[in-house]
């Protein structure tokens, strides 16, 4: 068994301290050590996006980040997207459009879409598809996902205006 190291980080706005083996991925730390199981493992090799989280404002595949790299970072997972009971406009739009079926890919899509809209208020359809090309969905054919992100973008613009 490998020696564990302490990591101090911030997850969904809360300071968190945890112990992990240096070889454990951030995904495993979130799910198995910290108990935040909303983030999913679809491949463990960077090809599906189910494990997408925000790390210091950038989206990363948490299966490709080591737990120890979270030291001092700000991490947002799907559990931190809503404010209490107030869903984020991206979540609202997914709900309204039924932009999911089995839901396994959904946490990754919601985190990725939020990150896009945080930095680009009016992405084109093409831009949305390109941004989400790191996330695989086998159920929806992406149609409603892209529509939901377009709708969320519009709502966010209206709120700001």
């Amino acid at each position: 068994m490998h020696r564990k190291v302490p990591v101090q980080t911030t997850i969904n706005g809360e300071p968190v301290e945890f112990l992990c083996e240096p070889r454990q991925s951030l995904l495993e730390c979130l799910r198995d050590v910290i108990g935040l199981t909303g983030t999913k493992e679809g491949c463990n090799d960077g090809n599906c996006g189910a494990c997408t989280v925000l790390m210091d404002g950038r989206i990363v595949n948490s299966c490709l980040v080591l737990g120890v790299e979270a030291q001092g970072a700000q991490i947002t997972t799907v559990e931190g997207i809503a404010r209490g009971n107030q869903l984020h406009p991206v979540q609202q739009a997914f709900l309204q459009n039924a932009a999911l079926q089995c839901g396994f890919c959904t946490p990754g899509f919601i985190v990725a879409a939020k990150a896009l809209l945080d930095q680009e208020p009016a992405p084109s359809e093409e831009r949305i598809r390109l941004w989400l090309a790191n996330n695989l969905c086998r159920c929806t054919g992406y149609d409603k996902i892209v529509r939901a992100v377009e709708q969320a973008a519009q709502e966010l613009r209206e709120v700001k205006a």
Binding site: Q96, F104, I110, R138
Partner: protein, 779 residues
């Protein structure tokens, strides 16, 4: 009794685009999938798998793994000799069924074949220990291609059957020989439906928990069929069924790949019983590609016979099915579905089909979205286009000429089915209107004249779904529902269908809310736990709503009869109606609400004559027939001559799935289905090299469509209710996949037709098309 005024709902919930009740937990990351389950003392299993497609196991030494700190146990084939074989539920005359033990004994038959299982305190430790097991393999010659496997002298997958034939199957109807002899034209084509990897985004996973004092085992499994799994795994482990509980947590997609009982469910049950601790096994993506069933895997030889005016006379098929090394639950049955549906929507009175079921050193094929019907539709729809080209007829006209007429239902097909209802011209005409077909053809001519490779592809499909009458299914084709009205008036629906993304928590609640006149918020739908829900069959073959829905409907009718009896008692009247959630006395106008009736039925101070207390009804519904949805898809595509890349310019799908309960959900099924079809047409292929190594072993190599690779899908409907069930629904889970691939391929063949291209096999990769264009259309 109170005289409560109630609001009667103006419109029904059935038919409306309602949001899904399952979504709030899914969009907040609070749903529980099998890998999210943690238990005190939980151990983790890792499975050692064969790196060879065929080999003898000379020796196996697990001691170094056992000595590794943190390892609780290691089991091999010898240890699990008492566990029953992995079940095959399909039966065909003369079927050869290889012994299929949960761990390999002295030989391995495909890459990924499980050889040993390591159980440890942590998943890293289990993986580390796996590497310490010493296995000496003696590699043997392997065969991965079904046509090669049929050649004389090919390596025998199972030494006892040197011809590699698991079965042959012949079916014919009418007089095919005569039809072919009398035909003006006969067109022949070899058509491949390549092996595909289902790739549910959640891999398989099992948690097994054994309580020795209670002698009870609980298995959590990501499956489409919890009750069937309970029966079969109990048998494998020698347990009484009531000592095994199967719980299906949230399931992250199945598409048929979880319509199965795999070695791992019984294996984890065995491990949990041996070590007395809960154990978890989660399939890695690589294992998922190597060891979970694949789909399709056909080489089809088609012949179509017709008169020169275009009337079709006969269809012949020789179907070579790549079965893989073993039979999983339904493996040999899948190609028989292709045969049943080979006539498509057309008046083929004379058909003949021969299936050769062939063993290869590959993972078994089995049901993958559409299961046999995409292959059949691809075949007949390609043949119709080839015939149209031969006769210089418009492909739409040829189809309209040969459709079964709207006045001919129920229609007995030459393959022995009875199509329930249909109006096949309607969706095609609608789709042709939507694309403005004649103008589109003109535009295509102009584009082609300027050197652009633009094509228009049509496919019309019929599908058999709502599986199905019990005599025609391997394990019962009915479905069950229990509806309970609690003393407070809250409504619980328990369905034996085990939905996993399709949205029946919503659609069944719509049905119940309408029938009982209660708000949909008051209804919850429970499924996927054999200890709570009455026996059921499961969700597959587009049956969830079409067979599970009527079970719910009839349970509600039973319940309504009982509600009325209590209403009569409480209102002291025999002239009472139940509607909008209240019983009303038609003479006095007095009312009593459902909640009051429920309370009185459980309090049971007084009971109506011959009536038990409580408001619970269970109904097992046996469908009298299958249901047969249909539709027309039109694709406009353009091939880039510089790169060979296909761009889908337009995708129009007009589907008729009978009555629609929730259009929002139906759209989703169509979109997802179409994109899986598109994956087959353009991108996906499971590739084994000649030694039986899976080359497409991870998502890097296997091209699941991404958001950038798919078009918008224009989806529309016609509505022909099914007479088979009281809801008039037919099923839509597989329609998109079935209609898609021939439409895409027909469009690309059309785009390249002027180069002399008659046929193309999938996937239509840029490389394949670029080479073809470079060679001036000569393959």
């Amino acid at each position: 009794m109170s005289m409560a005024t109630t609001v009667t709902k103006a419109e029904t919930l059935v038919g409306r685009r309602l949001r899904r009740k399952e979504d709030p937990r899914l969009i907040t990351g609070t749903a529980t999938y099998v890998d999210d389950i943690q238990m005190p003392g939980m151990h983790y299993a890792a499975i050692l798998r064969s790196p060879h497609a065929a080999a003898r196991i000379r020796s196996l030494n697990v001691q170094p793994a056992l000595d590794h700190p943190g390892v609780a146990a290691v089991f091999t084939g010898a240890d699990v000799a008492g566990v029953g074989p992995v079940p095959c539920g399909a039966s065909l005359p003369g079927l050869r069924v290889p012994a299929h033990s949960v761990l390999a004994r002295d030989r391995v038959y495909f890459v990924g074949h499980p050889v040993a299982v390591v159980v440890a305190t942590d998943r890293y430790v289990a993986a580390d220990a796996l590497d310490l097991i010493e296995v000496e393999y003696q590699p043997l010659p392997a065969v991965a291609n079904p046509e090669k496997a049929l050649e004389p002298g090919a390596p025998a997958v199972h030494p006892e059957w040197p011809d590699n034939l698991a079965f042959t199957y012949h079916q014919e109807g009418g007089e095919p020989d005569r039809a072919f002899a009398e035909a003006d034209v006969v067109v022949r084509q070899r058509i491949i439906s390549q092996r595909l990897i289902p790739t549910a985004m959640e891999t398989r996973g099992v948690v097994a928990d054994y309580r020795g004092a209670e002698k009870s085992l609980t298995i959590y499994s990501s499956t489409q069929i919890p009750h069937l799994m309970r029966s079969l795994v109990a048998q494998m482990l020698g347990l009484a069924e009531n000592r095994l509980r199967v719980i299906t947590p949230e399931v992250g997609g199945g598409f048929g790949s979880k319509l199965n009982v795999y070695a791992e469910e019984a294996l984890m049950g065995f491990v949990a019983m041996k070590i007395g601790k809960p154990v978890k096994w989660i399939e890695s993506r690589r294992e998922n590609f190597q060891c979970t069933i694949h789909g399709r895997g056909h080489v089809d030889y088609y012949e179509i016979a017709a008169r020169k005016d275009g009337a079709v006379l006969g269809l012949r098929l020789k179907l070579i099915q790549d079965l893989g090394a073993y039979h999983q639950l339904l493996t040999p049955a899948i190609p028989t579905l292709s045969v049943l549906m080979m006539p498509g929507l057309y008046k083929f009175r004379n058909v003949s089909a021969d299936i050769l079921g062939v063993f290869t050193n590959c993972v078994p094929t089995d049901a993958y979205r559409g299961a046999g019907r995409p292959e059949a539709t691809h075949g007949v729809e390609r043949m119709m286009d080839l015939l149209a080209a031969e006769l210089r007829m418009d492909p739409a006209e040829l189809r309209l000429l040969n459709f079964i007429g709207a006045d001919e239902f129920p229609y007995a097909t030459a393959t022995g089915l009875s199509y329930d209802s249909g109006n096949y011209a309607e969706p095609l005409k609608k789709a042709l209107d939507l694309v403005d077909y004649h103008r589109l053809r003109e535009q295509q001519q102009q584009a082609k004249a300027s050197g652009r490779l633009v094509g228009i592809g049509i496919s019309t499909y019929g599908e058999i779904c709502a599986f199905g009458p019990s005599p025609a299914t391997p394990a019962g084709g009915w479905e069950s529902a229990t509806v309970k009205i609690e003393p407070s008036g809250a409504v619980t629906v328990m369905t034996g269908a085990s939905p996993h993304g399709q949205g029946e928590e919503t659609t069944f609640a719509q049905i119940a809310a309408d029938e009982l006149g209660v708000p949909i918020e008051d209804v919850i739908v429970v499924h996927g736990d054999t200890a709570i829900v009455q026996y059921g069959i499961g969700t597959f073959g587009s049956r969830g709503t079409a067979v599970g829905g009527p079970a719910v409907y009839y349970a509600l009718q039973d319940l309504k009869a009982k509600i009325l009896k209590f209403g009569e008692l409480l209102l002291e009247s025999s002239d009472v109606t139940f509607s909008g959630g209240v019983c009303t006395c038609n003479r006095t106008g007095k009312t009593v609400t459902l909640a009051q009736i429920a309370a009185a039925s459980y309090r049971a101070m007084k009971l109506p004559p011959n009536t038990e207390p409580g408001l619970v009804a269970t109904h097992f519904w046996e469908p009298p027939n299958f249901a047969f949805p249909f539709g027309a898809h039109i694709v406009v595509s353009e091939v880039d001559p510089e790169t060979g890349q296909v761009e889908i310019k337009r995708y129009v799908a007009v589907d008729d799935c009978g009555k629609i309960i929730n259009p929002l959900l139906v759209d989703g099924q169509v979109h997802g289905g179409v994109v899986q079809g598109l994956g087959q047409a353009l991108f996906e292929q499971a590739v084994y090299d000649q030694d039986g190594q899976l080359v497409t072993g991870e998502l890097m190599d296997y091209a699941v469509p991404k958001a950038t690779m798919v078009p918008w899908i224009e989806s529309d409907h016609t509505t022909t209710p099914s007479p088979v069930n009281p809801l008039g629904v037919k099923g839509v889970g597989e329609a998109g996949t079935i209609g898609c691939s021939p439409a895409v391929v027909n469009s690309v063949v059309d785009a390249l037709g002027h180069l002399g291209v008659r046929h193309l096999d999938m996937p239509l990769t840029p490389e394949k098309l670029w080479k073809l264009i470079q060679a001036g259309g000569q393959a």
